[in-house]
């Protein structure tokens, strides 16, 4: 973290800390994007492209005023996931995204962090609705969407995201 990203917000949940992404997250990002785990979210790509993705995630905050957080365990850990609001140019609408690093699956971390960022998007950013884009074959991610109370809306063909399903989150008053 540095003087630039130190202005970004931090969120906390029962088990997790959500903080700005930074240089220290590169090894975990490179491993994720170089592995099968990234095949539904733009991977598999080399470390050079993973680095650019990290740089883009950080700059997204500047351009949109929000972006995805680096998630870690309260007791300290390597990067658990990259989770939160994501709305790059050309996206159908603002979405909540969750990428979970290897070794942290099956514990409910993705839904716990995503719920915190959804509350933040509704409460602090004034969002009135949110979607998540999930590849139809990505059953683990679909399970997270369902756990978050999302309902399936439709499938779309997207220039960047490919063939994805739109899952609609419950609104702020739900």
């Amino acid at each position: 973290m540095n003087r630039f990203t130190s202005t970004f917000p931090r969120l906390e949940t029962e088990r997790l800390i959500l903080r700005p992404l930074g240089h220290e997250d590169f090894p975990a990002m490179a491993e994720f994007y170089g592995s099968e785990r990234s095949r539904f979210v733009g991977g598999i790509v080399d470390p050079a492209k993973a680095w650019r993705q990290l740089a883009t995630e950080i700059g997204h905050w500047t351009l949109r005023g929000y972006g995805r957080f680096g998630v870690e365990l309260r007791e300290g850990s390597s990067l658990v996931g990259v989770i939160g609001p994501w709305f790059p140019h050309g996206w159908p609408e603002p979405e909540l995204g969750w990428d979970l690093m290897a070794g942290f699956e099956g514990k409910g971390y993705a839904s716990e962090a995503a719920r915190a960022t959804r509350d933040w998007a509704y409460g602090s950013l004034g969002w009135t609705t949110a979607i998540s884009l999930v590849a139809p074959e990505n059953k683990a991610s679909e399970a997270v969407a369902k756990r978050l109370g999302c309902t399936y809306e439709c499938d779309i063909e997207h220039a960047t995201a490919g063939h994805v399903s739109i899952w609609r989150h419950p609104g702020p008053d739900a």
Binding site: A55, G59, P88
Partner: protein
């Protein structure tokens, strides 16, 4: 860290701003960007635009927007660039429009950025990576006193690695 503001007779070098997006997008979606991997779609260009801030956040240095004093318009970017996969930082320079060319603006910007790398960052050497077919950039490298050190292959491109004169030259 954010970029300081550097001033030259005709230019201001400053942190990229979100309002620079239309000018940057026009450049990267045009044929002018062919020598640096373009043209790209607007969506791809936006992700690349966002990475300017990430580069500064990760390294504490990065590329500046080049703004013409007369028009207050951003017309290019210049500065040290060090993404993953590069052995060392390079000084890059790009003018976004045809009308910005031919007036020595890239030279003026690159000189100021190089001076900043040496004086503020304390660097002792600097490279530039240039497409062997990019005659304008090759000419500018020559004006800056840089000389070809070797041919490299990077992300599928053949590039010439130029070495700049050091801070004491």
């Amino acid at each position: 860290m954010m970029a300081p503001t550097l001033e030259t007779p005709r230019l201001i070098l400053r942190m990229m701003e979100p309002d620079d997006w239309p000018n940057y997008a026009d450049y990267y979606t045009s044929e002018r960007s062919a020598s640096v991997g373009g043209p790209k779609s607007r969506s791809q260009t936006w992700q690349q635009f966002a990475s300017f801030w990430g580069h500064w956040a990760i390294h504490g240095f990065g590329r500046f927007a080049v703004v013409e004093r007369d028009t207050a318009q951003s017309v290019g970017h210049v500065g040290p660039y060090h993404p993953e996969g590069y052995d060392e930082p390079e000084l890059s320079w790009t003018l976004w429009t045809n009308t910005a060319e031919g007036r020595g603006l890239a030279y003026e910007a690159a000189t100021a950025a190089r001076d900043w790398c040496y004086s503020a960052l304390g660097w002792t050497t600097l490279t530039s990576l240039i497409d062997p077919a990019n005659d304008r950039s090759i000419a500018l490298a020559g004006r800056l006193g840089a000389a070809v050190e070797r041919r490299i292959e990077l992300e599928g491109y053949q590039l010439d690695l130029y070495r700049h004169p050091g801070p004491d030259a």
